[in-house]
């Protein structure tokens, strides 16, 4: 292993040794459950190891907290979507229920679309849902929203690029 990677690993190790316990407690206050907090704390360090980052020499706890916050937001977002999906299944007419094997795959696809949509402005998001899920034509969406066709085409392109980016990152 090249020396530079080794020193990065050492830096992450020292962050772990010095702050892992503090981070677990910080997370536990927000999650309520010690086991989940421990999992999350590990995820924070796993994230650091996934990609080489510029680690701070001081302010290390706020730095770790920022990463942890990001993971928490993703986690709650994902939980909200799962709950919404379960609700949808519960209210679904039995004829329309997807088979159990499909349900998980659908949820995964929905999760990255949901994440992508979260980064978009309301009009862009709505235009995308209308186009992709309602199957409306671009001209109809433009008419419904009172904007030009070119605007809707730009909106859809933006939404698709966001979906692509989220899929890449998943």
């Amino acid at each position: 292993m090249p020396p530079s990677d080794n020193s990065y690993l050492e830096s992450v190790s020292s962050l772990y040794v010095n702050h892992h316990r503090w981070l677990s407690v910080w997370l536990q206050r927000r999650l309520g459950c010690p086991a989940t907090a421990a999992d999350f704390a590990h995820d924070v360090y796993a994230r650091l190891l996934q990609r080489r980052r510029e680690l701070p020499t001081d302010g290390q706890r706020p730095y770790l907290a920022t990463i942890a916050r990001g993971l928490l937001v993703d986690h709650w977002r994902r939980k909200e979507l799962e709950q919404a999906w379960l609700d949808t299944l519960a209210h679904c007419e039995p004829d329309w229920l997807p088979c159990p094997e499909s349900r998980l795959l659908i949820l995964e696809t929905l999760a990255w679309i949901d994440e992508a949509l979260g980064q978009l402005k309301p009009r862009v998001r709505d235009a995308f849902l209308m186009a992709q899920l309602d199957g409306l034509r671009v001209s109809d969406i433009a008419a419904a929203m009172g904007v030009s066709v070119a605007t809707i085409e730009r909106d859809l392109a933006r939404a698709l690029l966001s979906c692509h980016a989220c899929l890449e990152a998943a």
Binding site: G32, L81, I106, L133, S139, E153
Partner: protein
């Protein structure tokens, strides 16, 4: 070598043109030329096509329900958290623990002023004389001012009797799909995740879907359905939409599966059935306050077998016996 981000953008723009629009012959020729021009273009196109393919594999209606429901939960929770922070004169540091306590049901209830659980109904009389009846599993938010009355239907079904209002101001009722305006009508509003259903019993109600420029005036006897984009065809149903005020689900020649779907709304636990019931119809009025008894009653009229898998999980099938 992977294609550049410019190439990705070109591919996405082509996808919008080809898959979401109506490409002209000239555009199709242009696309063909772009595709042939470079193997990187082809790679980018393959990638965005695969993306589209994956999204196309989603069940449209269910996906839309789930995505909009998740969105709505977040809007409501953010509003609530900000409100609480203001009350506590608070700092951002306490925002996260509050979010932690909110699961799905609680989140969409917090903005509500009136809530019913499954099987519960609630009558409300507002200051201006408007009478409301919340049906099962419903949450609303009322905002009263001297200028107008606003009612937000967060979830469920609501009967609004504004015929005896003492106020000169207007009444606005909203769901996630759009807004309704009236002075003194009598109507039933129901939120069905992917669309909202309005049934006017008396008076005049103007309906404006969220994104539509054209509102529609609805008079007594009219039923309209709309989603954010506009008006949609109401699904044919012989079920009487205001029978719940008498604690009943009523109708002529109702599909049994539709009746069961309605009864399931009032029952805590799970009520399910299978396709063996397809085609069975039933006429009459059925009580909602004790769904299990109603099911037993139905089993006397129709060849049904009712199984209690657990005290809260009932399954209805067509009976095998002759």
């Amino acid at each position: 070598m992977k294609f550049s981000s410019e190439t990705l953008e070109e591919a996405v723009n082509w996808l919008v043109c080809m898959a979401y629009g109506q490409p002209t012959p000239a555009q199709m020729k242009h696309f063909d030329a772009w595709l042939k021009a470079s193997v990187l273009n082809q790679q980018a196109w393959a990638e965005v096509s695969a993306l589209k393919g994956r999204m196309d594999s989603l069940p449209a209606l269910l996906s839309k329900q789930a995505l909009t429901a998740a969105q709505e939960r977040r809007r409501t929770s953010r509003r609530r958290v900000l409100g609480t922070l203001a009350l506590l004169g608070g700092s951002a540091a306490i925002g996260l623990p509050l979010l932690n306590q909110l699961n799905g049901w609680e989140v969409s209830n917090l903005a509500a002023t009136h809530v019913t659980r499954k099987g519960e109904q609630q009558k409300v009389i507002l200051a201006d004389g408007t009478q409301l009846l919340l049906n099962t599993n419903t949450a609303i938010r009322t905002v009263e001012s001297s200028q107008q009355l606003r009612i937000e239907l967060i979830r469920g079904e609501l009967l609004v009797d504004a015929s005896k209002r003492r106020s000169a101001g207007g009444l606005q009722a909203s769901s996630v799909h759009g807004d309704l305006y009236t002075k003194s009508a009598y109507f039933v509003l129901r939120e069905l995740r992917t669309y909202t259903r309005l049934s006017v019993k008396n008076g005049l109600v103007e309906a404006r879907p969220r994104w539509s420029a054209t509102p529609r005036s609805c008079a007594a006897g009219e039923v309209v359905c709309f989603d954010t984009a506009g008006f949609v065809d109401p699904l044919a149903s012989t079920i009487q939409d205001d029978a719940f005020a008498q604690g009943l689900v009523s109708g002529q020649h109702m599909q049994l599966t539709h009746l069961l779907a309605e009864l399931a709304r009032y029952k805590t636990g799970l009520l399910d059935w299978d396709e063996s019931l397809a085609g069975l119809t039933v006429t009459g009025s059925f009580h909602v306050n004790d769904v299990n008894s109603t099911l037993e009653f139905l089993a006397q009229m129709l060849p049904l077998s009712i199984t209690y898998l657990t005290p809260y999980w009932v399954r209805v099938k067509k009976s095998e016996e002759i």
